[in-house]
């Protein structure tokens, strides 16, 4: 019996199970509260966005924390996931009546496209390092957003038409309908996301990233992060591993986008939702969460998404207070002085425990 639980002694494995447990317990608690009707409207509609940002943060955490590459383009991957899946859903909503099947297909499409783009972008981009990589990914995110803003896709009796910039170039029949209408984006996306699906996606993402970082490939990725030359010298395929981690990271961000797109009936690519500000916001989740901690990223994403909503009582001052709280949290987590202080107190607790055990 004891041997069976031996793997729990491995601290990183233990930490993994704690993360799963936190997500599941939080889900059960929320469901129970909703069942008893003690959740307000705000929180009820906020649950899916919380899942969205948690998933994207998990994706970026893999890229920043484990691959060690600073990406400022994850809002772009989210955007690809959102738009490809919403386009698919809009095209097929008459044919697929089962909501779960419809979402599943949309999810697969969105994730694959985001992963594919991550792969394609990764080929040139991963030759760069550090700041340069950050700048190129940032540019890429903006390009995606701008292309989608001039993209027109329409559907009529003859099939699907695609045009860039000029909507009249679609040459649709009279019965034609816009699927993506340039800057006006996609409207009428079926509302398929819900909290349960969101939590399942979080668990799937966690399962993928935890298995990756605990695998042979994951260790290779981390070896490349820590010392690229040494990793190369022992025969690791640096480009291959980097591309793999980057694509997976992009695909997870895309999954977040799918969830986002199916939570709102209208979808547009604006600077607020898919611009570089969002990319930086996601990076803030990861940094605040401790760079290499998926659990931390989720908690930071949840806290920072809820905070501005909880501060609504302060009216115009809320964004000011929000930024002050953000600075305070960053300092508390990362300032050397605070770290020292925390480790001191952590030490006190540990000593107490030890002395108790001794008794």
């Amino acid at each position: 019996m004891k041997d069976k639980f031996n793997f729990l002694k491995n601290s990183s494995v233990k930490s993994m199970f704690v993360t799963y447990a936190i997500v599941i317990v939080a889900y059960l608690v929320m469901e129970a509260l909703m069942f008893t009707g003690s959740v307000n409207y705000l929180l009820m509609d906020l649950l899916v966005p919380l899942c969205v940002y948690s998933i994207v943060a998990i994706g970026l955490c893999l890229c920043v924390g484990y691959l060690g590459e600073l990406s400022l383009g994850h809002a772009g991957f989210m955007c690809i996931g959102a738009f490809t899946s919403a386009t698919f859903s809009s095209l097929t909503k008459e044919f697929i009546s089962n909501e779960i099947v419809a979402f599943l297909l949309a999810f697969v499409i969105g994730t694959i496209f985001a992963g594919l783009f991550g792969f394609l972008i990764g080929i040139p981009v991963l030759r760069l390092r550090g700041d340069y990589l950050a700048i190129v990914t940032l540019a890429f995110g903006e390009i995606i957003k701008n292309i989608i803003n001039v993209l027109f896709i329409g559907k009529d009796s003859k099939g699907i038409h695609v045009a860039i910039v000029d909507p009249d170039a679609l040459k649709m029949e009279a019965d034609g309908k816009y699927i993506i209408n340039g800057a006006k984006g996609i409207s009428g996306t079926p509302h398929l996301s819900n909290f349960t699906i969101g939590v399942i996606l979080i668990l799937i993402s966690l399962f993928i990233v935890y298995n990756l970082v605990h695998s042979r490939s994951g260790r290779a990725v981390m070896a490349i992060r820590d010392n690229r030359i040494a990793a190369e010298s022992v025969g690791l395929n640096v480009t291959g591993y980097k591309l793999m981690a980057f694509s997976i990271s992009a695909a997870i961000a895309g999954a977040g986008g799918v969830l986002y797109a199916h939570n709102l009936s209208t979808l547009t690519a604006t600077p607020a939702n898919f611009g570089y500000n969002m990319s930086i916001m996601i990076l803030v989740f990861v940094v605040l969460g401790g760079m290499r901690s998926f659990r931390g990223s989720i908690i930071a994403a949840v806290l920072l998404t809820m905070l501005p909503e909880m501060l609504r009582g302060l009216s115009d001052y809320r964004m000011l207070i929000y930024s002050v709280v953000l600075i305070a949290m960053m300092l508390f987590n990362w300032s050397p002085k605070f770290k020292e202080l925390r480790s001191k107190y952590a030490g006190v607790f540990k000593r107490n425990k030890k002395s108790k055990e001794a008794v």
């Binding site: 729990l8 002694k9 233990k14 199970f17 704690v18 447990a21 936190i22 317990v25 939080a26 608690v29 929320m30 509260l33 009707g37 003690s38 959740v39 307000n40 409207y41 705000l42 929180l43 009820m44 509609d45 906020l46 966005p49 903006e142 701008n146 803003n149 001039v150 910039v165 909507p167 340039g182 800057a183 006006k184 409207s187 986002y260 709102l264 009936s265 209208t266 547009t268 604006t270 600077p271 607020a272 939702n273 809820m306 909503e309 909880m310 609504r312 009216s315 115009d316 809320r318 964004m319």
Partner: protein
């Protein structure tokens, strides 16, 4: 065993944290209040903040006036305005916050894209919604939503008609914001109507939110095409840059704007002499002679120290329209949002209202407003009505 204990304690902490967060919840929509609860949504922070702030200010002004005069049938109005940062997702959060507060009527939202999303939510709750300034036709597809402003296609249509009927020009160039639903909505309809009316479009140039500081390429194309009139269905900030750059290039067509152009005389560091001769279609001019407008402008200036723009005027009217609708139906504040919505939406087609953005405004089945736009030309730094 130790690890299990740790796990247990962690999950307990989790439970505590989550329950603390939802502890304040549990309120379920209005129903038993003694005041009418009107909510407003719009951007009061971020890039579009001036529009949301103007709407919020003017609506508060109107609510205060009504309350000071004894309220509606003796019952006061409570007004709460929530920020949406011009983002769809935040607008839904703002809407839910207001619902938790007990909102019965929604005056919003200010900008189009979030409004489309919120309109879906109000339709599900059957809440009466009157938007001051979200002008897309998508906003009013449901029978509970109404507009104070013109719809975008309507503005494009009226502009093209006005240019053609008054023979202002034969060759027309357009510069519009392709990333804005408002701007591209007007442009689309303008191009269609121009073809009908025989206007020749020599250049149809776009820009986006990310590239709105330099318009020399677009202006060059318009100039090369020999445009006699430049149609600008955009907001005044970008228009002021276009006017400045056109002047530098020596390009002097007739400039023609729509309601977004209103406010151009108030742009900081802009040489307003360049705006001389600019024509625009607008429902509201702050220096109009009639008493209602003058009273509103004076009250707004006293309260906030600036001249109200068209958004403020629309919001001011919106509150009075809601008041008129409530008086017409005689609904009491103790109704739920849904019941009030049923009553209010049924009388909208019977109303005819004189406001600061138009005389005898009426609403059609769709929820679009019918009022006549005013064509004004800027002369000596002020609007002058055109014939």
């Amino acid at each position: 065993m130790k690890s299990l204990k740790k796990l247990l304690s962690l999950s307990l902490v989790c439970v505590l944290a989550v329950s603390a967060l939802v502890g304040c919840g549990g309120k379920k929509g209005g129903g038993n209040s003694d005041t009418y609860k009107i909510g407003g949504i719009g951007p009061t922070t971020g890039e579009a903040a001036i529009y949301g702030t103007a709407v919020s200010n003017a609506a508060k002004l109107a609510v205060d006036e009504i309350n000071a005069a004894g309220g509606i049938d003796g019952k006061k109005i409570e007004f709460d305005f929530q920020d949406d940062q011009n983002d769809t997702e935040k607008a839904v959060n703002a809407y839910n916050t207001l619902k938790d507060w007990g909102m019965q009527i929604l005056m919003g939202t200010v900008t189009t894209q979030p409004c489309v999303e919120v309109a879906g939510k109000t339709a599900a709750d059957n809440m009466f919604q009157l938007t001051p300034s979200a002008s897309s036709t998508d906003v009013i597809v449901n029978d509970n939503a109404f507009q104070v402003c013109f719809t975008d296609p309507n503005q494009g249509l009226v502009s093209a008609d006005y240019i053609a009927d008054n023979a202002l020009a034969k060759k027309v160039a357009i510069i519009y914001d392709s990333s804005s639903v408002y701007s591209s909505g007007i442009e689309e309809q303008f191009v269609k109507e121009a073809a009908v009316k025989g206007l020749e479009i020599v250049a149809n140039e776009a820009f986006t939110t990310d590239s709105k500081t330099d318009f020399s390429t677009q202006l060059q194309k318009a100039q090369d095409g020999g445009a006699e009139l430049l149609f600008l269905p955009i907001y005044y900030t970008e228009a002021s840059i276009i006017l400045t750059q056109a002047n530098t290039m020596g390009f002097k067509p007739v400039f023609f704007g729509v309601d977004g152009m209103d406010g151009i005389l108030g742009v900081e560091n802009f040489d307003t002499s360049l705006a001389e001769g600019v024509m625009l279609l607008t429902p509201f001019a702050a220096d109009a002679e009639d008493e209602a407008t003058q009273n509103f402008v004076k009250a707004y200036q006293d309260a906030y120290g600036e001249v109200p723009n068209q958004f403020a005027a629309d919001a001011y009217d919106a509150i009075y329209i809601i008041k008129a609708a409530i008086e017409k139906t005689g609904v009491k504040p103790d109704l739920s949002a849904g019941e009030m919505g049923d009553a209010l939406k049924s009388v909208m087609s019977e109303l005819s209202i004189d406001g600061v953005t138009g005389k005898s405004m009426t609403w059609d089945e769709q929820g679009a407003v019918s009022k006549s736009p005013m064509a004004v030309v800027i002369e000596n730094g002020a609007y002058k009505a055109m014939q």
